[in-house]
Symmetry: C2
Subunit: 239 residues, 2 copies
């Protein structure tokens, strides 16, 4: 059973401020829910039209109509879970991936998924970046958010207090094919979709790098943010 | 001046069937419109709240209110243009990039943008794939659709009549790092977001390839489609 007030509460978790207040977030769909159940995250409540399909004891049965009311998806996916947020400590690593003012939830989710694929478990975002517990972000990560910890920090403080080399992704930078530094340590900064890396953070960059264009291509101005991110990650990890 | 009927007509172009019937499509925003104006596409009509900002003689002045009515965007972008669709001939090329049943417009748009960046000007899609003249696709290409021709064909016929080697992107394939074939010719097939490459097309593949995972990563099942596409393109073009 789910009450009207409970439905209202779950829907209210679409707001970042409510998620922060109650320290909760919503995950939809069997695959993603299972990945969060198998992670350090602790479940708060699970609702389902088919409770037997979820390997958790206290699943609350809901009707199809209630599912549609609760879900943020166009085509709701049988199961909806609420998890407690965790404040992970920032790990010391050789490579830091840093997003400056990223605003598109689909892009953020895709980048978290790509990090997970390449075996990275940490991402740094500026405080004004889109919240990783946003429904669309969680959907695009396809469960990877359960394994990649996203930290919202003051980028200037973090970067300026580090001794690691600082690299910026920029269309006007040097080609990654001319990269001669060690690939296994550094701070890799990516700017926002519309404005690139902000001015104060740009000053901290030791070297800007770009993904070289094809020979025939003179007119394209930029790549999608999560595309650049993926190509740079594959460059670091595979070659 | 724009009439009520005209507003209704422009809005109706959000439907693929109406776009096909009139052979027209809509482009929004100065940057994208300018890129289409500088391409082989012929303009049908342009509407703007700020006609002086568009380098075209017959721009139709509209009000802010009318712009909001016409636009498919949440935050409309001053200018809206209608262009005539073109039926481009399929070019003989050494590399063909093929999408089987792609359904996400953002993914398709991002892939068109990435092709353009790497200097490719042609993309093949199965007939059931999302229409490249869909508003969201056009928005995500950021003008690149004006330079990349998308063909909707019977994939089975096209692939089976070609002598080029056929490669499939598949998580169960051989790592691209073990790729020993010539990189400058082949048919590269990518499957749909949810179901991968369809069964009949799979039978035509000579070798499946995958992007290797990081060492620590065992749990992620797949990469986003446009992410895999970008990493494979960068593999072919850069290394």
């Amino acid at each position: 059973m789910v009450t009207k007030n409970e439905i209202k509460f779950i829907k209210s978790l679409r707001d970042k401020s409510i998620r922060n207040k109650f320290n909760l977030f919503v995950v939809e769909g069997k695959k993603s829910i299972n990945e969060f159940l198998n992670s350090d995250y602790k479940v708060y409540k699970i609702y389902s039209t088919h409770p037997a399909n979820i390997s958790y004891t206290d699943v609350i049965q809901i009707s199809e109509k209630q599912l549609i009311q609760i879900s943020a998806l166009k085509t709701p996916n049988k199961h909806i879970a609420i998890f407690n947020k965790i404040k992970f400590p920032l790990k010391n690593q050789k490579n830091y991936f840093v997003l400056d003012s990223v605003s598109d939830p689909g892009n953020l989710g895709t980048m978290i998924r790509t990090l997970d694929w390449f075996g990275y478990d940490q991402l740094i975002c500026s405080k004004n970046s889109v919240d990783c517990y946003n429904t669309k972000v969680i959907q695009s990560t396809m469960g990877s958010l359960s394994r990649v910890n996203v930290h919202y920090v003051d980028l200037y403080d973090l970067i300026s207090s580090s001794n690691l080399p600082v690299y910026g992704a920029s269309v006007s930078g040097k080609s990654i094919l001319e990269f001669t530094e060690k690939k296994d340590s550094g701070i890799w900064i990516f700017g926002s979709e519309s404005n690139g890396i902000s001015e104060d953070i740009s000053k901290l960059i030791d070297q800007n790098y770009c993904i070289p264009k094809g020979n025939n291509c003179v007119k394209t101005e930029s790549l999608n943010l999560s595309t650049s991110f993926s190509i740079i990650l594959s460059f670091l990890k595979l070659y």
